[in-house]
Symmetry: C2
Subunit: 327 residues, 2 copies
């Protein structure tokens, strides 16, 4: 008789491709999938992803790192042909909303076209299960409580537009080519290994001038932040329990945190806790930034998901983790 | 003093680019714009468009035909640079939903990428007014009464996905780069000069075998058809009256017509009015076909729009016009 732990491993062992697996959220996802005995192919072109984020996984026999750009179609097809994945978690993207406003084709290539390439490869190699990292930015500016079936979808950033375009294509593959898909619309996610965002910016700014922090906008922008481990939990839970063709979930933290609060938490944990915080003014940091939004998260909460850290605690926990371990 | 007719012409004379201007709807739009004294550049790569559709306009001094593919970026930029358009009506697209299921990249190139190219050229050359031909197919399968602010947007055809992707990009250009846009989500449009669709198919089939008509599906698919002149009226009306950054309008006919009724009208007007109609069965003609949908058209009706032909009269009128004048 097999020991029960071994049976568990047999049942759980899926071959999973994580695109963007060396990135901020991707690397935390690799950690979690390996922890439950899945076999993980971590694909990354190391444009935003960092080898450092996955260095601790290199010795794991069930972990495979593939340095590859999703737009290299022949190499991607070879990978799919060799590995015979059971599922794909597609996280690879330009995750920096601001960068997409200066180069308007950036998000189209890195967010939309990469998704089309993944879908084509999945269809060609008969991989039938997908989780897609989408975003609240598909909505644009809308202060209503936004459920998964709600419209309108009117993005105001190239990031949001490219993710909505990707969702549109995923919808067709799901409905007509039988790729069962979970779309998780991420909120603002924070944690160690992040490559941008307010916390990252503020810590970097204070490194240059520790006694003064300039903050874009008036500090009143308020968003619900989620700590990365809570998001990874949401990904695994929706992936495991969703069985419809095309299933969308909104996920958001409990409560909101203003930019002003983030600045205060970062400064309080910095080398000069008395550093001055100065606001540039205006209701948003850059064009395309959505100042506030409000998700209805009833669907994912009905599955039993709840964040371990509320929004402001997620900020505090992140700042402490970065102070201890670096970015 | 100038004669008042001349003043009227000065006021109305806009330089308008119509992409897909030699196509079915595009050529009717060129007719209407010229009739109100606009200067029209009709751009078409003649892939679906036909020179025949615009032959009667060639002698008009205010009409310019440009044979060009929107994906030829340098030539498109030259055109924008030379002509200094006041506005663009972007209709160029693969309009055959069925064709997109056999070549999944077709709609991405012809519907999505062409739109991105138009937006880029407009932004570069400071053209600030756009009307975009979108579609009910952005919704996918949804039997509710669908208003412009409603979701979800879950296309089930590559055609619908590519148009939704285009809308997503238009939204960003409208909101952040100040291209004031009217999005008109077309219903099923019929009339002479069409290149596909049930009426077109049935007439073509009867040419081959005049005593027997095979119809895909069970004939119960029911759609609200609009006659092309009513749609052109909707385009001009929304273009003229809309002043918000990004304005979406749904347009649909009065009533519905089933595929069975269309088949019966075509057969009744054919050379053998007693021809047999045979149905292949099933609730839709092909994968990606949305069997029925229902638009809420309160917004466009509030502008005073109403179709001259109801759905079934539009079918009858179209069949008669084609019998008289050919396709």
């Amino acid at each position: 008789m097999l020991p029960s732990a071994y049976i568990f491993q047999l049942i759980m062992n899926m071959k999973i491709l994580v695109t963007g697996g060396a990135g901020f959220i991707g690397s935390h996802l690799c950690d979690a999938l390996l922890a439950r005995n899945d076999e993980v192919w971590c694909l990354d072109n190391l444009w935003l992803g960092r080898e450092n984020n996955i260095a601790h996984l290199r010795s794991n026999q069930r972990f495979h790192f593939v340095k590859l750009d999703l737009l290299e179609r022949p190499a991607l097809n070879d990978l799919f042909s060799d590995a015979k994945f059971d599922a794909v978690f597609h996280l690879a993207a330009n995750s920096d909303i601001r960068a997409g406003t200066s180069d308007t084709s950036l998000d189209q290539r890195l967010n939309f076209q990469t998704t089309v390439e993944v879908l084509d490869a999945m269809h060609k190699h008969q991989v039938k299960r997908l989780l897609f990292a989408s975003t609240s930015a598909v909505f644009g500016e809308n202060e209503s409580s936004l459920g998964e079936l709600d419209g309108p979808l009117r993005p105001i950033s190239f990031y949001g537009a490219s993710k909505l375009a990707a969702e549109a294509y995923i919808s067709v593959y799901a409905h007509t080519l039988n790729i069962q898909t979970t779309v998780l619309r991420f909120p603002n996610v924070i944690g160690e290994r992040a490559t941008h965002g307010a916390i990252y910016d503020f810590i970097a700014k204070l490194k240059n001038s520790p006694d003064r922090l300039e903050v874009l906008g008036d500090g009143s922008q308020s968003k619900p932040y989620v700590y990365v481990s809570d998001l990874v939990h949401a990904m695994l839970l929706t992936f495991d329990t969703s069985h419809s063709k095309f299933d969308v979930f909104h996920v958001a933290g409990d409560g909101f945190t203003t930019v002003r609060e983030i600045a205060e938490i970062v400064v309080a944990n910095s080398s000069i806790p008395s550093a001055q915080i100065e606001f540039t003014g205006g209701d948003r940091g850059w064009p395309g930034d959505v100042p506030r939004f409000n998700y209805d998260t009833a669907r994912i909460r009905a599955l039993g998901w709840a964040p371990h850290y509320n929004s402001t605690n997620a900020v505090i926990h992140t700042v402490k983790r970065i102070r201890e371990n670096g970015f």
